[in-house]
Symmetry: C2
């Protein structure tokens, strides 16, 4: 994806890299808002980074010239990333995960109590940062997206270990857990940049869905050295995804999620053998194509981000 | 406290009981925002109730006549209670608590994953409810209070099991964990009612501090059948509070928190024997007196609420 990011930076013009650097400053300030080990852990979470895909979407959806200047835009981008980071910290509590992006998780380093509180703090600082923009429409977008994230996590719990999860229900979960925050990122950028929030939000929602579908493919294909987690981690966790759902329609001999035990590798091979992964990839590609087609204006940088979601997995 | 609540209702005029009933409706709607077991657990948390002290503060700080009508006021009251409820759910995750207010906690009934997500959802719905008021100043008050809550929880973690927690640090923790949400409740009421938010917020902050001090006295005195938890639960949990800090200054033979083991009853008796509890009670009473003196106008109902904080523990 690095080449892709370079291409996006080239296409987006000189403002983007400056904005991306400034968002790091806001993130650090939010993470160090409280003193002590909290700050240390929150900062480590933020510093662990990741692709900063959501802030980039905020910036690209805003366009190069923002009426009110870049300050509010950078805060909006940071707010979205803070909600995302809070979710990751809480997910790691839930999963008891030891590593994320190759570093110890907050929960592993500081315990469950600390991790729940660090997540709560990052979440609160997201709203506190966005409040400074003084725009209720932006706060609405963020609060609806963060509600969706929690509802999606609950839905995932409810559906865990069930062989009968429907495609519709899976897609609804992806929308709540992933797509709505992508949507909010684009809406916030549009609101700051004066662009059409509905259309750009729809773009974000579609590439968010594609992102999740392809992430679920990657869980099956691996390889672990690329994904940083064992193949079939979702299956081992009871999370039923589209590759499994479609594969089991074709090959009923695929085991019930409850019966997979510790040997996810063989099940992953069995899923791949059905050709279901190609189907999921095709659905994701279609979503990306729809996203690009629905853009209110031709925008090379946003199109490249959409392609980047796919390229990561090709 | 029931008699006290009745007295407040009498003093506050007929609007209060109607408002208190309406806030339940908003709380239920927030809890049932998502479907499935989530809704069930979130609703159970909300229904378990408690005193609804914070919504009452919102209403009383607003006064009887609210320029914009009661709808926004009721939403503000619900938002504060939702943040409080989210905190309780997450606290129970942290503590692994099995019961709260005599009912199974979300974490006991549905597991840790569900409880973290239910807390996140209640939290998100608090902001979503308040966004509908369209007032950035209100959203600022809530986001600062919720940040403080998380920072206070982290501070409590940091200070756990330490015999050398200072009085200043203890008071700062109480401010973050308890007083700031009381303050926000009064500020939100003042903002809706057109009253002085700073003064009313200061009132809320002071009675919030007193509330926490007296809660910490009650942890030492019990009795369990009244508090719903064993005597010395804080000590057993490593939480060092003012009664312990002051008692240990007077009686250095009090054990280090790490050495208390399971026998908190004897330590509670030893704390009580130093007379430290009277000191803490006196400090709390002084805070309540200051709160009442700082009220911008004589207000019988707010004064009764302040007294109610004390009476609960007399």
């Amino acid at each position: 994806m690095t080449t892709q990011v370079d291409a996006v930076l080239d296409a987006a013009g000189p403002a983007l890299s400056g904005r991306m650097a400034r968002v790091e400053g806001v993130l650090s300030a939010a993470a160090t808002w409280a003193d002590g080990p909290l700050a240390e852990h929150a900062l480590a979470t933020i510093a662990a980074g990741g692709k900063r895909l959501r802030p980039m979407l905020v910036f690209l959806a805003a366009g190069e010239d923002v009426p009110g200047g870049d300050e509010g835009l950078v805060r909006a981008a940071a707010a979205v990333e803070l909600v995302h980071a809070a979710t990751l910290v809480h997910d790691d509590v839930l999963d008891g995960a030891a590593l994320r992006r190759g570093r110890p998780t907050v929960v592993a380093a500081g315990g469950r109590r600390l991790a729940v509180a660090v997540g709560d703090l990052l979440f609160s600082r997201a709203f506190a940062a966005l409040v400074r923009n003084g725009r209720v429409d932006e706060l609405r977008a963020l609060s609806e997206a963060s509600s969706a994230l929690a509802a999606g996590e609950l839905m995932q719990r409810e559906d865990a270990w069930r062989a009968d999860v429907s495609v519709e229900r899976y897609l609804r979960r992806c929308e709540l857990k992933t797509a709505r925050l992508f949507q909010a990122a684009c809406e916030l950028g549009a609101l700051e940049g004066g662009g059409p929030a509905d259309e750009l939000g729809g773009f974000g929602r579609r590439i968010g869905l594609a992102f999740q579908l392809l992430d679920d493919v990657l869980d099956v294909t691996g390889p672990p050295e690329r994904t940083g987690k064992p193949r079939g981690a979702d299956l081992l966790d009871g999370t039923v995804t589209l590759p499994f759902i479609l594969a089991r329609e074709r090959d009923p001999s695929l085991p019930d999620p409850r019966d997979i035990g510790d040997d996810a590798d063989a099940v992953c091979d069995q899923i791949a053998a059905t050709g279901a992964l190609d189907d999921v990839r095709a659905q994701a590609l279609e979503m990306v194509a729809e996203a690009k087609a629905a853009l209110p204006r031709a925008d090379r940088a946003l199109e490249l981000v959409a392609d980047g979601v796919v390229d990561r997995y090709s």
